[in-house]
């Protein structure tokens, strides 16, 4: 026992006098200094703007501001306060609603669009550019255009409904907090239009890597188009499909700009399109009176945990089974 405890210390003591080692020490230090010189800029930026804020978010969520400046330990008060806030639960419900709707529309549509584009022998370049063009627009440009389309008085979409003799809608400002509300669908439509290009092009690249022989073999065995998609296309692109599924859920759970611009920062009628990140923003920067960074941090920690549990669980559930 005693020997084992002293062993590392003894070897550490022995190390410096070793003659061969001393000769290498100075060049080694020099080499390391040089290497760290190259590394230091990025390391400082990561420390200040990434690593430290991660730690600080957790610390801040357990603190409260003290009159006259500074912070004091607050225990779980911030968490209790946000859990008691009805808006908190509504924001979570809205965010889940957005995520689900965006999955139905924004996840499946690009996949089938990619399958379609992959079958076409003409106009491929043109169609690819079309799909990706909205992704490049500044989000405010694209969303303000949708604000105009959605306008209940002079917007294009209500005009289309009128031409079709359908009842007009208030779109994003349609009241109602049902689970699948018109307001949220309007947000999802704008969001999908803006964002689907990226996923489509990634699928397209994945589809082009499927060996043609597989389709050949499936066809020889009499598989129709649907079965070829099911038994060849989907299994062959499984990894990309799962990867994008996870990334999409993680990114839609962080929805902010879509609802923020479409509702002009308000979160819709009765907060029916208010997302969790919008609520973080409201807690921290937009609440009347003193803005409270601490409740906002607590909400941030909750969102971080939810996303971490989701990603971890997803990766675990879809791991390669041997």
């Amino acid at each position: 026992m005693a020997v084992r405890v002293t062993a590392p210390a003894a070897s550490a003591e022995r190390r410096p006098p070793r003659p061969a080692y001393r000769g290498h020490l100075i060049p080694k230090v020099q080499r390391n200094l040089g290497a760290w010189g190259f590394l230091i800029g990025a390391v400082l930026c990561f420390s200040f703007f990434s690593w430290y804020p991660i730690v600080r978010e957790v610390i801040m969520s357990f603190q409260k501001p003290v009159y006259g400046g500074g912070y004091a330990f607050a225990g779980w008060t911030n968490y209790v306060r946000i859990f008691r806030d009805p808006t908190f639960w509504q924001a979570w419900r809205n965010t889940l609603e957005f995520t689900l709707l965006a999955l139905v529309v924004g996840y499946a549509v690009p996949f089938f669009v990619a399958i379609l584009l992959n079958e076409l022998r003409h106009a491929r370049g043109y169609l690819r550019i079309l799909v990706y063009l909205p992704v490049m627009l500044p989000p405010a440009s694209a969303l303000l255009l949708f604000v105009y389309f959605y306008n209940p008085q002079y917007g294009l979409f209500d005009d289309l409904l009128r031409i079709l003799h359908l009842p007009v809608s208030q779109w994003v400002f349609q009241p109602g907090t049902g689970f699948i509300s018109t307001a949220m669908i309007s947000v999802v439509v704008a969001s999908t239009w803006m964002n689907m290009g990226g996923a489509t092009l990634i699928y397209l690249a994945a589809l082009q890597n499927i060996p043609g022989e597989l389709y050949e073999a499936a066809e020889l065995e009499g598989a129709g188009i649907i079965r070829r998609i099911r038994h060849v296309t989907i299994p062959q692109t499984r990894l990309i499909l799962l990867m994008l599924l996870m990334l999409q859920v993680v990114s839609t759970m962080q929805m902010f700009v879509e609802s923020f611009v479409l509702t002009n920062g308000g979160g819709g009628v009765g907060n029916n399109t208010l997302s969790v990140v919008m609520l973080i923003y409201q807690y921290a920067f937009a609440m009347s009176g003193a803005s409270n960074y601490n409740s906002a941090s607590a909400l941030g920690v909750v969102l971080m945990l939810v996303l971490a549990v989701f990603s971890g669980g997803f990766l675990w559930a879809t791991r390669e089974r041997r």
Binding site: F49, I54, V131
Partner: protein
């Protein structure tokens, strides 16, 4: 690549397509696809560019007109003046290229150090950098904002300065990952040969590594520029509400929305979109290649 891919077998065989029925179906599907896609994706763009040419009265007329009945180019000029578009545009370009410069200098050197120089603790640093990819960016805005408002140790307030956008953009684990992976693939013999000739680390990076790495630098640069150009929440927090304006185009147009006539807002949105569209049409090959080769980006 696209040409060879088009000739290989996909879901539907070319034999099937070349049959009479197949040919007709293909033509119909192709035409439908082109028409629907053009309507869905170019349609809104059409209104983005033409609605700015309407007068204010026409832009809020019910029912909306499908094309400007009286072309009023004054809308664009008025929007340009009223929203101070020149300044917004300059701010955005300044932030975007500044961020790019910082990213290229710091991320390239860091990736080079991690890949070729391998300092002590380099592995730990690389792991910690990659770990930040697991933390969703938007949940950190509050502590990031508080940190930028009062930088620890040096006690600088960066709010309202371009550095508030430039420096955090360097902390991009994805850049480091892409660059390091590319540098790792460069044969060590090149670097060792240069070292034997007595070249310093900086010289090796400049004369050997960078010229080979042009493709990956292009990917990182393009996505770096686009990220700053498209970002909304962060510039809203750190550059909002100064006079003369320090906002980006994105935030500037949004904040002008209340109290500015509809036609001017659309004209401004169109003007903000033009540079990105031109940029995309010029670099579309790199962008699309980067999207798939560089991996997946948010």
């Amino acid at each position: 690549m696209a040409a060879s891919v088009a000739s290989t077998r996909t879901l539907i065989s070319s034999v099937q397509l070349n049959r009479r029925r197949g040919r007709i179906t293909y033509r119909v599907v192709l035409t439908l696809t082109i028409v629907v896609f053009t309507l869905v994706f170019i349609g809104p763009m059409y209104f983005l560019f033409t609605d700015g040419l309407k007068s204010t009265a026409e832009s809020i007329a019910t029912p909306p007109t499908l094309y400007p009945h009286h072309i009023y180019p004054g809308g664009y000029l008025q929007a340009f003046d009223r929203l101070d578009m020149a300044r917004l545009m300059w701010n955005t370009v300044y932030y975007a290229f500044g961020a790019l410069a910082f990213q290229l200098v710091f991320d390239v050197t860091a990736a080079y150090s991690l890949s070729a120089l391998r300092p002590a603790l380099g592995g730990v640093i690389f792991f910690l950098m990659l770990a930040t990819l697991m933390i969703p960016a938007t949940v950190l805005v509050v502590p990031q904002y508080v940190t930028v408002a009062n930088l620890p140790i040096v006690h600088l307030d960066l709010i309202g300065t371009p550095e508030a956008i430039w420096l955090p953009s360097v902390a991009n684990a994805f850049n480091i990952f892409l660059l390091k992976r590319f540098f790792d693939s460069i044969p060590r013999d090149y670097l060792d040969a240069a070292k034997v000739d007595g070249a310093s680390g900086l010289l090796i990076l400049w004369r050997i590594v960078l010229p080979i790495s042009r493709p990956i630098i292009a990917v990182v640069s393009i996505f770096g520029l686009v990220a700053v150009w498209k970002d909304f929440l962060w510039p809203l927090l750190v550059e909002y509400g100064y006079s003369p304006t320090r906002e980006t185009l994105n935030v500037g147009i949004w904040q002008a929305y209340v109290g500015t006539p509809q036609n001017l807002i659309i004209a401004a949105s169109a003007m903000a979109a033009i540079p990105t569209i031109v940029f995309f049409l010029i670099f579309q090959r790199n962008i699309m290649a980067g999207l798939t080769a560089g991996g997946i980006r948010g």
